[in-house]
């Protein structure tokens, strides 16, 4: 294939589009054309403007200047409904489900199959949803409410919703961020089917290999400006990174070797009935221990119980030799624990609150102490500390007093990290720390974790990104169906050994 575009006009295109949010210029004269039968990739760092492009296509944002073209004709989308009517289906970066409604209703909202009387045909609707899930290779109950679904399952529902529309254009903003393996493979298979049927597809991911596997052309954005559109054939990952970041990238997994110190976190026979059973392990200072497993294996649940946001039924947790009371995050923090949760929108951040306040939220006491005598917190101290961390994590923001909600996904993740690192914990638990983070920042986060470990912090890392697990961890703990089934030292940890344990074929060393 060469660069010359097919003769027919693009299905959907942005032409010379600019968009500003207050002082932030999110897009500057961006042009991007989606052709029928092609999967187009959109690459760029966190905050480069990818999601803004998506939302402009979706009719959520209206361009300040420039235009949207449908089949070569300029159109104005006055809201998502218009875009949907024009045949555009969108998977947004953050799942947007109705928690109180069933999964099937979530998928078919507004387009439910009807009986002859105009009433909703629930049976048909559930069957159709079950069909979609079968195509995607997941076992979800269409009747189940969306509340309580894991991020991964929410993402699956979003995908099902989009592909059920039989759209002319499918736009996917990081659909795979929470997915892996089977689900990703299935998603790709479904995507290719749609592509063959003549659908125009836009795909966004921070996992470059996915882009290479699925897409034909790529458009790169940097700071809201268009860098280039080119075929992926003949492009290397480094070229792509070079275009996105504008510089060469450092080593991705800069693991520093450290001699492990004393035990910092000790978990003994921890059990939460129906969720995980009899989990025991230790993490030493200076060590990075990864917790691996399949979806629903209970990794996040263990982490939540250790930190005290969920109650455990039996067992105990010690941090630096102090036993933690059950179900008290405050006590856990006082003992030196920090926890970066999986779901940053609900649990990690207060979306309506400013960046500085979010960062300060975990250290109210120390901020007060730093503000001098008396119970008051000085705004200057608060802001200085926030700025300090924002700079250290290379956060992209316009004002510290802006709501975190307006930051790009990756930058939000950085704020969560900042908020916890600022507590100077002795044990850091991170659940999917790099989900939705661009390659540059990912390296940054990895360097940071490494450095923290080197400075004698104990790190427990939950990640679904296997290279990350293998690259960063000193030891890999593997969970399967709520039990710890294997402990694999760095030397023996390979994709095969971890997978074998995670799927229940015990290959690694048996856990105690």
């Amino acid at each position: 294939m060469n660069t010359s575009a097919p003769p027919t006009p693009p299905r959907l295109a942005l032409v010379n589009v600019s968009k500003a949010f207050g002082a932030v210029q999110a897009l500057r004269g961006v042009t991007i054309e989606l052709y029928a039968g092609e999967v187009h990739a959109l690459a760029g760092e966190n905050g480069a403007g990818k999601s803004t492009v998506v939302k402009t296509f979706a009719g959520v944002h209206r361009p300040d200047s420039g235009e949207v073209r449908l089949d070569g004709e300029p159109v104005v989308f006055n809201g998502p409904a218009d875009a949907q009517a024009a045949g555009v289906a969108v998977i947004y970066q953050e799942p947007t489900l109705f928690p109180d409604l069933s999964v099937a209703e979530n998928i078919f909202m507004g387009r439910q199959p009807r009986t002859s009387l105009g009433r909703i045909d629930r049976k048909a609707m559930h069957a159709a949803a079950a069909d979609l899930f079968a195509r995607l290779g997941v076992a979800l109950d269409p009747r189940q409410p969306a509340r309580g679904l894991s991020i991964a399952d929410q993402q699956v529902v979003e995908i099902a919703k989009a592909i059920s529309r039989d759209a002319k254009v499918l736009i996917m903003d990081e659909p795979t961020a929470a997915l892996t393996g089977q689900e990703v493979a299935r998603l790709f298979a479904v995507t290719r089917t749609l592509q063959q049927a003549g659908c125009a597809i836009l795909f966004i991911s921070h996992r470059l290999e996915e882009i290479f596997e699925l897409c034909q052309r790529v458009t790169t954005l940097r700071d809201g400006t268009w860098v280039g559109t080119e075929p992926l054939d003949g492009l290397t990952a480094d070229d792509l990174v070079q275009r996105m970041v504008g510089r060469e990238l450092e080593e991705l997994y800069p693991k520093q070797e450290v001699a492990p110190g004393p035990v910092a976190l000790k978990v003994s026979r921890l059990t939460r009935e129906g969720v995980f059973t009899d989990v025991s392990f230790q993490v030493r200072r200076g060590e990075i221990v990864a917790l691996a497993g399949l979806v629903g294996a209970g990794r996040s649940e263990v982490a939540r119980a250790i930190f005290g946001v969920d109650r455990w039924d039996a067992g105990e947790v010690e941090v630096d030799g102090t036993r933690l009371p059950p179900a008290s995050p405050t006590a856990a923090m006082a003992a030196g624990l920090a926890f970066v949760p999986e779901d940053r929108r609900q649990q990690g951040l207060v979306m309506d609150m400013s960046i500085e306040r979010n960062i300060g939220l975990t250290q109210l006491r120390s901020l007060r102490r730093a503000s001098g005598p008396g119970p008051l917190i000085s705004r200057r101290v608060e802001r200085d500390r926030a700025r300090d961390w924002a700079l250290r994590l290379q956060l992209k923001f316009s004002r510290l007093s802006d709501a975190v909600g307006v930051l790009s996904g990756g930058n939000q993740q950085k704020v969560v990290l900042a908020k916890w690192l600022a507590t100077e914990p002795s044990v850091l638990i991170v659940d999917e720390p790099t989900r939705g983070i661009d390659v540059g920042t990912k390296a940054e986060v990895h360097r940071l974790l490494s450095e923290l470990a080197a400075r004698n912090m104990a790190v427990l890392m939950i990640s679904s990104d296997l290279p990350e697990v293998l690259g960063m961890a000193d030891r890999v703990l593997v969970m399967h169906e709520g039990r710890l089934v294997a402990e694999i030292p760095r030397a023996e940890a390979t994709e095969e050994s971890v997978m074998a344990a995670a799927t229940g074929r015990r290959v690694g060393k048996e856990a105690a």
Partner: protein, 338 residues
């Protein structure tokens, strides 16, 4: 309330930066005051101001903890009933021959207990506070009737009664308003300049995130409900002394007046947003406006209409200005590109 959606209200925040709700209300307050002095010479008089402010005492006092609760995404509708119960208890104990100095702490303790019960139901069982306090609104008012029945007790010690009906010497400011001013400063500092205040905003905006940040969500809520009950009981004592009459139906329906003042002050009922300054302006605005209307013989029904319109206008103005600005902003670049 209970659950935040994580919706980005960023654009609203941007539009509201220049025209803030509480600023609108404060401007209205200033306008009403000077307009009032112009229209009616009696309005600005020491006597009249003193009456008008004194009349606001209970609402103003209760509005303070209510603001904190609403910032936390909670609400306490039982305050007026606690006020009534406190009054009834004061009357019953006074009749039974207790010393007034002993009655006050006892009544305050009961008030705090009432608040604690609200708080426990909300935090332990995870019930919505609106539902719980609608229930206790009936319960506490009923208990007030149980305590005092149809009686009306009067003849409280003049020493204390005078404190609620006279002004601080040399000023038009009644003692209860002076106390309110003091407490308002403390509350404002707590809300806007301490860690607990930060925590309250976080709880109101996104409770789950606040909990994950190690904030003792339940404890803070519980404490606030208790303080709300305590304050309402104190207001009940003030009310009883001010009117010189302890009755079970004291302050019936006052809760809506308090809520109206808090909302008028620009506190978001969904939690996580608001300023105490706005609430103080809101309380004063409602009180002074009512007084002004009454002085000019405007019928009660019109006063009610005015209060209602005020509420609507105060939320509508910033909103309409924001919408107009947004539209203009959208038109400008579009015009530039053509």
């Amino acid at each position: 309330m209970a659950e935040a959606t994580g919706t980005v209200r960023g654009r609203d925040a941007g539009a509201g930066r220049l025209v803030r709700w509480d600023v609108v209300v404060t401007a209205l307050l200033v306008a009403v005051f000077f307009g009032g002095v112009g229209i009616s010479p009696d309005f600005g008089g020491t006597d009249n101001l003193s009456f008008a402010l004194g009349d606001l005492g209970e609402i103003a006092l209760i509005a303070l903890p209510m603001t904190l609760l609403v910032v936390c995404g909670q609400v306490d509708l039982s305050v007026a009933s606690v006020l009534g119960l406190a009054g009834a208890l004061t009357g019953r104990l006074w009749e039974a021959g207790w010393a007034f100095e002993a009655i006050v702490p006892a009544v305050l303790a009961v008030g705090a207990l009432c608040g604690l019960i609200n708080g426990l139901l909300v935090t332990r069982l995870g019930l919505p506070s609106l539902a719980v306090t609608i229930g206790t609104l009936s319960l506490y008012r009923g208990l007030a009737y149980v305590v005092l029945g149809t009686e009306a007790v009067s003849q409280f010690p003049a020493r204390y009664a005078e404190l609620t009906t006279t002004a601080v010497p040399g000023t038009p400011i009644p003692y209860q308003i002076a106390l309110f001013a003091l407490l308002a400063v403390v509350t404002a500092l707590v809300l806007h300049a301490t860690g607990v205040g930060r925590a309250m905003f976080a709880i109101g905006a996104q409770e789950d995130a606040a909990f994950h940040a190690g904030i003792r969500v339940k404890r803070i809520k519980l404490a606030l409900f208790a303080v709300s009950g305590l304050t309402a009981a104190f207001a009940g004592v003030v009310y009883t002394l001010r009117y010189g009459s302890a009755r079970a139906d004291n302050g019936m329906g006052l809760e809506l007046a308090v809520i109206a003042a808090v909302l008028l002050g620009g506190v978001d009922f969904n939690g996580g947003k608001g300023t105490l300054g706005g609430v103080i302006s809101g309380v004063l605005l409602i009180g002074l406006l009512r007084n002004l209307l009454m002085l000019n013989d405007v019928a009660t029904e019109i006063q009610s209409v005015v209060t209602g319109l005020l509420l609507i206008v105060s939320v509508l103005t910033p909103r309409l200005v924001g919408m107009a600005r947004e539209r203009r902003a959208r038109r400008r670049p579009a015009a530039a590109s053509t």
